[in-house]
């Protein structure tokens, strides 16, 4: 016990080790989340499309991501004869690397993040731009027509939407006066308002740009299945394909996390400054109980005896967790991560919803919207924010001068 204790103290006292441990935790948990995001997407799409989705692997298809991952691991890794081998091997790794690295600066809760650097936002923009190389190089090095077209499309798309998305973020930057992600949430806390209410246009632009940057429907041109078969990753197979797949879904989580942090108050609960809504802090308990009831309901519908037992067991687990969470110290500890997670899930659900609803834009239409609508709008938003901010600051400065002078 004492050895564990001293090890714990050592880790806490060594910043590098602490960061490493955090990275391991975040990487492990995120990989799992990404895998189950695919499951969630399939289930939600199925729910919207009058079908069941994965049902065969495990109870209600819960083991489907595991099966998919294993299958992809065991598949042959094919390198096309005319491919540029090194780049072909390197490209998917770039994509995944860029997607996961961004998490280093995302604050999941007020006290849980890998690092808080004072250029956090710039770091995110820089790293996520690097991810484009994964797509371009992958498409180009395949030495094949469809991937090349897909890669060309995606490079044009990502570059143009990054401009609009980046400008939308600058609006927040002006309000928060900081590039640090933690600071931005703290400012929202002290201002008593989420930035989505001060920057509604910026928020909308960022959401649209985020969908475009993650290559999701209705902007999924680089991998438009019906036109380019699979776009830039047509020639990839096995685990290299899985890497691209993982990168895409990780990117979805990334942009959701950024949107939640910058616009939706990060780890803050809704209306954090309103004391009357303090009862909202019991939401985690209710959520767990609700999940338990839902699982029980699912389980009772199941015709397989073993599955019924499993679901009842799972529901009981939820209730036990709810009881555990009901302890005030635990409840306070998980507040931040709960609200952050809940907001991200809502965002991800919306991503899936778009996919079920919209047809796909055509390449030139996409560019038109990007350059003729989104960028001018983002620019106007930026200028308006800057002007308003200037007058607001001037007003306060005058008040401060008056205060000191008296």
């Amino acid at each position: 016990m004492t050895m564990l204790d001293s090890a714990f103290k050592f880790v806490m006292a060594t910043p590098l080790l602490l960061a490493l441990v955090k990275i391991l935790i975040i990487f492990g948990v995120l990989s799992g989340i990404v895998a189950y995001l695919v499951y969630m997407e399939r289930k939600v799409l199925a729910f919207m499309q009058a079908r069941l989705g994965p049902m065969r692997v495990g109870p209600w298809g819960l083991l489907q991501p595991v099966a998919d991952g294993l299958k992809l691991l065991l598949k042959e890794d094919i390198i096309p004869a005319g491919a540029d081998e090194w780049l072909f091997l390197l490209a998917p790794a770039i994509s995944v690397f860029a997607a996961f690295t961004v998490f280093a600066v995302i604050p999941f809760a007020g006290n849980f993040y890998v690092t808080d650097i004072n250029i956090g936002l710039l770091f995110i923009l820089a790293i996520s731009s690097l991810g484009i190389y994964g797509i371009i190089l992958g498409g180009w090095s395949s030495n094949s027509h469809y991937p090349l077209l897909g890669a060309l499309r995606s490079s044009a798309q990502l570059v143009s939407y990054e401009v609009a998305g980046g400008m939308a973020l600058v609006g927040v930057l002006l309000l928060a006066n900081s590039l640090s992600m933690v600071d931005i949430v703290d400012r929202q806390s002290s201002a008593g308002v989420w930035y989505v209410f001060l920057q509604p246009v910026g928020f909308l632009i960022y959401v649209i740009a985020a969908v475009a940057e993650t290559n999701r429907n209705p902007f999924d041109l680089p991998e438009a299945e019906s036109e380019l078969t699979a776009g830039f990753h047509t020639e990839y197979s096995g685990f290299r394909f899985a890497l691209y797949f993982m990168a895409e879904y990780t990117n979805m989580v990334v942009v959701s996390c950024i949107a939640v942090t910058l616009f939706l108050g990060g780890w803050l609960r809704p209306f954090a400054s309103v004391q009357a809504l303090d009862f909202l802090k019991f939401a985690p308990i209710l959520a767990l109980l609700g999940a338990g009831i839902f699982i029980l309901w699912l389980g009772l519908k199941s015709l397989v005896k073993l599955e019924r037992y499993f679901f009842v067991f799972l529901a009981a687990g939820c209730v036990v967790l709810a009881a555990l969470v009901a302890f005030p110290p635990v409840l306070n500890a998980i507040q931040g991560i709960f609200w952050f997670g809940a907001k991200v899930v809502v965002f991800l659900y919306a991503f899936i919803w778009y996919r079920a609803t919209f047809p796909r834009y055509r390449y030139d239409q996409l560019m038109n919207i990007g350059w003729r609508v989104m960028i001018p709008l983002a620019l106007a938003n930026l200028i308006a924010t800057a002007v308003l901010r200037y007058f607001w600051l001037a007003h306060h400065a005058a008040a401060a001068v008056a205060l000191i002078g008296r």
Binding site: Q49, R51, L149, S226, E227, A356, P359, R360, Y361, R362
Partner: protein, 370 residues
């Protein structure tokens, strides 16, 4: 087609198909591209050629009936109907009203099923993945009625030369009426997803335009022709069965673009429901078979008979030499002839539009290649 492109860049030739998710089977389209712009297309067909017309010459008239189901396999009922009517015309047989109305009900249900399949796959090609599941759900109901009636869902072999093999099963009228009541709100549901959807309109308006003159010159038929504003429907122009006794409208478009063809087909599904309802009202007990002999031996001669299949004019040209086998059977498949319009329609469009245009032509490769 310009010989050289901008800055003398080489044009890119890519093969779309025969294995490609958007070519609806084994169509192969050679695309000449300048970047994403299409400079020219060339269709290469024949990957599904089975020599159906030649097979007919070695079969008796009755034996050949199931083969026609396998041409347009998503609209087998209408294919079969066209053939049996052509043979009946050759034999000079009248078929009783009960058989006529039954054929019309099943043929119109088949039109709905075929249009549903078109709508789902067309929307899927344009990137909307949900409609296909909804349309297949409703198509399933039609197929259930077929199955209940003749035991098969896809290649039905529903009719016989001279009438019907099976009389209607008990509750057929109830099932069909129930389907009609269930189906109309569903069409509104599809329209909610697509008709006023900005992206859908952007992707289909002014895409694949074909003028009325061009359409007629290319002898395009069916919804593709009507989308260009030509009011030509064989059911009205040369009525067969009892189509002259039922009321229905022929929806037409204005601009001849992909959107208009979409609107026309959606309206046609509603009209089909209207026809089916009238037929169900009028169907009365009676014989189901006309006067045909055990051995079909039509007199020497030839006949051309065409019907309005879901995809356009489906014609059968039969030549009889007085024996039990046809001397020659020639099929005029709407899919093949509509496909000729692809090059005209896709001029100066982008790659993504080619997919939309192939979808809007509503081709079935089994019928193109036969």
């Amino acid at each position: 087609m310009p010989e050289t492109t901008f800055l003398d860049a080489n044009e890119l030739v890519i093969n779309m198909g025969p294995q490609h998710p958007a070519t609806h089977g084994v169509l192969r389209v050679k695309l000449k591209l300048d970047g994403e712009r299409v400079l020219g297309t060339e269709c290469i067909i024949g990957y599904l050629h089975r020599g159906v017309e030649k097979i007919a010459e070695n079969r008796t008239y009755a034996q050949f009936t199931p083969y026609v189901d396998r041409m347009d396999y998503v609209a087998a009922v209408t294919n079969g109907m066209g053939y049996v009517e052509a043979v009946e015309k050759l034999l000079g047989v009248e078929i009783p009203p009960r058989a006529q109305y039954t054929r019309m009900i099943l043929a119109e249900l088949q039109r709905i099923a075929s249009h549903l399949l078109w709508l789902g796959t067309h929307a899927l090609d344009i990137g909307a993945m949900t409609p296909v599941f909804y349309t297949f759900r409703e198509r399933e109901e039609v197929l259930k009625i077929f199955e209940e009636y003749c035991g098969a869902r896809l290649t039905t072999h529903a009719f016989r030369i001279g009438g019907l093999q099976y009389d209607l099963y008990d509750g057929f009228e109830r099932d069909v009426s129930k389907f009609c009541d269930y189906f109309l709100p569903k069409v509104d549901e599809y329209e909610q997803l697509l008709t006023k959807n900005r992206i859908w309109i952007n992707r289909t308006r002014k895409i694949g335009v074909i003028t009325a003159e061009e359409a007629i010159a290319l002898s395009v038929t069916g919804p593709v022709l009507r989308g260009s504003g030509v009011k030509w429907d064989i059911r009205k122009a040369q009525p067969y069965e009892a189509y002259d006794k039922v009321e229905f409208d022929v929806p037409v478009g204005e601009h001849g673009d992909t959107y208009d063809r979409y609107v026309v087909r959606m309206a046609e599904m509603r009209q089909s429901v209207r026809i089916v309802r009238q037929c169900v009202e009028r169907i009365a007990p009676g014989p189901i078979f006309g006067k045909v002999g055990k051995v079909l031996k039509p007199p020497a001669g030839e006949v051309y008979h065409s019907i309005e299949a879901p995809k356009g004019e489906l014609g059968y040209y039969l030549v009889s030499d007085g024996t039990v086998n046809p001397y020659r059977v020639r099929v005029r498949p709407p899919s093949l002839i509509n496909l000729q319009a692809l090059d005209v329609m896709s001029r100066d469009h982008l790659v993504a539009d080619i997919v939309a245009i192939i979808g809007t032509l509503d081709i079935v490769l089994g019928e193109v290649d036969r």
